[in-house]
Amino acid sequence: MDPAELLAAYEQMAVIRRTEKAAHDLFLQGLVKGTTHLAAGHEAVAVGASAALRPDDYVFATYRGHHHAMARGATPEECLAELMSRATGLCQAKGGSMHLTKASTGMLGSYAIVGAHLPMAAGAAWSARLRGTDQIAVAFFGDGATNIGAFHEALNLAAVWKLPVLFVCENNLYMEYTPIADVTAVPRPAADRAPAYGIPGEVVDGNDVVAVQEAVARLAGRARAGDGPALLEAETYRHFGHSRADPATYRPAEEVERWLKHDPLDLARGRLAELGVAPETISEADERASAVVAKAVEAAKAAPPPDPREALTDVWADGGAAWRT
């Protein structure tokens, strides 16, 4: 990444960080209902990967997917409006925090059944190959997803069919409240499974946006060239609890501290400084990010609720919901 690219990535991460913070505050204020799974701390995975992808590539994410939606072009306002059940939400308030989707930019959804989207990503990659484009598909998922059956089936199919798909695990050390190490037979839940599918399995510092960008670029290039899928395990950490107001007391204080010191934004700032970017330039990016998010919060708050009649639309492609004639 050159300084301009890295600065852009930094600003994107700053926007995501602030949006997540806003979502948290809005949840505590009762303005976000249901649940949220915040990705603060995971920004570098989404932003680094996106920087390595083409605009027409496909991305599939999980219920912890705000960062992926934004990295693929969803605005903080669209996202927050969705979380706040507004008609202007990304999914017209029908999806909610767990299902952010921006199909127009290839962000084909956030799925809330652990592991379910891995076969879908394989299918999107298969489709790209069948249509003769050289798009690739990327599925992002958690460490916990590596123990579910769909993971295994997707990886094997992708490997056998040599599909242009990347499986990127955001290993944040925990499922909901249980350490992944307690329930997984190998130390690296994703990378250690790659040999079972005869594909590359790499580990990357998921908090280093440059490292992520480079790893994804390399593996994406391979996939695009017809050399098949790969598994990338990005080590990262969530700053908030698993969901809603979870205080995450199950995590040792010194572990939290260590990871907070290894913050993706700090790391990027350090790299920017190394590249000679001036502190004021970085501060300006921060300020722009703050302004964007502040405006997004206000706009989302001001937006109207959805029309109740929308509850009975969009089941079928004709826009309706009739199940009988």
Binding site: S104, G123, A124, A128, R131
Partner: protein, 326 residues
């Protein structure tokens, strides 16, 4: 084309016709390629369309249906085969939680034009895990269209409609009908989903049936005719969209209703139809409504036992006689 076509051949023919007209139609499933499918319902496809359009998969039902979904979301029209409909349970998350919901939960951003076709039903001595009529499982899930043809021509016509549909369709092919033969479908034959067919007219009672229960109902109707009871037989053809209008119209003529269902009584599709009738058609009814359905037990292996569990012509005749006497 020959004078008659088997239901089995009709499946392959129906898929082939769509593959010819639309290059985005692709097939995937276990042993569907060279082998032509375990039920020989994809014979010839690999030869005509090649390995880039007819894909053999591992035994990975979740990957099969999940990949079909991803492909459908990105410009293809996949036709996924799940060998026996019992195995839908192995990928139920995709049928229940993913495919039928993604359009709605994204506010209409995506569509999922795919077909999952599968061999359904019992009567062949395949035992508890290979004999179920599972169309009622799919019926619990809003967002799936459900087709279950009873004749070869309908297989072709409904397959065309299913593959062309921009909505996901679960297409149930009845194992007990595969060897049956019927009139070949005309060229460009398309049977709109959600239109029941009145396959026998009669003024005394309405029998509503699906798939392999249609011939059962027709045979029962023929026997009853000997008693002077003329049954109207409705072949539902689809569960979603459910053609309630045709059923209510028939009931307007007959005032009596019996459903003939292979799936179990508890949670069977006929229950929903009856509940619509007990509400909207209450004034039309002259007698109780009866459901001849599968017994609420797993499917046993021995044919002597299986016959006790699956509706038979005798059971339908007995139910109708009983009602006629009401």
């Amino acid at each position: 084309m020959a004078d008659v076509i088997s239901y089995r051949e009709a499946v392959a023919e129906g898929i082939a016709r769509e593959m010819r007209r639309d290059p985005t139609v692709v097939c995937l499933g276990e042993d569907i390629g060279e082998a032509g499918g375990v039920f020989k319902t994809t014979v010839g496809l690999r030869k005509e369309f090649g390995p880039e359009r007819v894909w053999d998969t591992p035994i990975s039902e979740q990957a099969i249906v999940g990949a079909a979904m991803g492909a459908a979301m990105t410009g293809m029209r996949p036709v996924a085969e799940i060998m026996f409909s019992d195995f839908l349970a192995c990928c139920w998350d995709y049928l229940a939680n993913e495919i039928p919901k993604v359009r709605y939960m994204t506010g209409g951003q995506v569509t999922v034009p795919l077909v999952v076709h599968t061999a359904n039903g019992g009567g062949l001595g395949f035992g508890a895990q290979h004999s179920q009529a599972t169309e009622n499982w799919a019926f619990t899930i809003p967002g799936l269209k459900i087709a279950a043809p009873s004749t070869p021509a309908d297989v072709v016509g409904m397959m065309a409609a299913a593959i062309r549909s921009d909505d996901p369709v679960v297409f149930f092919e009845h194992k007990g009908l595969l060897a049956t033969k019927g009139a070949p479908p005309p060229p460009d034959h398309v049977v709109e989903l959600g239109r029941a067919a009145v396959v026998r007219e009669g003024a005394d009672i309405t029998l509503v049936a699906l798939a392999s229960m249609v011939p059962v109902a027709l045979k029962a109707a023929a026997l009853l005719s000997g008693d002077g009871i003329e049954a109207e037989v409705v072949d539902l053809r689809c569960l979603v969209p459910l053609d309630v209008s045709t059923v209510l119209a028939s009931l307007g003529r007959t005032s009596r209703l019996v459903t003939v269902e292979e799936n179990p009584y508890q949670g069977g599709w006929g229950a929903t139809l009856v509940s619509v009738v007990a509400d909207e058609g209450f004034g039309l009814l002259d007698a109780p409504v009866r459901r001849v359905a599968g017994e609420c037990v797993p499917l046993p292996f021995a044919d002597a036992l299986e016959e006790e569990v699956i509706p038979t012509v005798e059971k339908v005749v007995a139910a109708v006689r009983d009602l006629a006497a009401y």
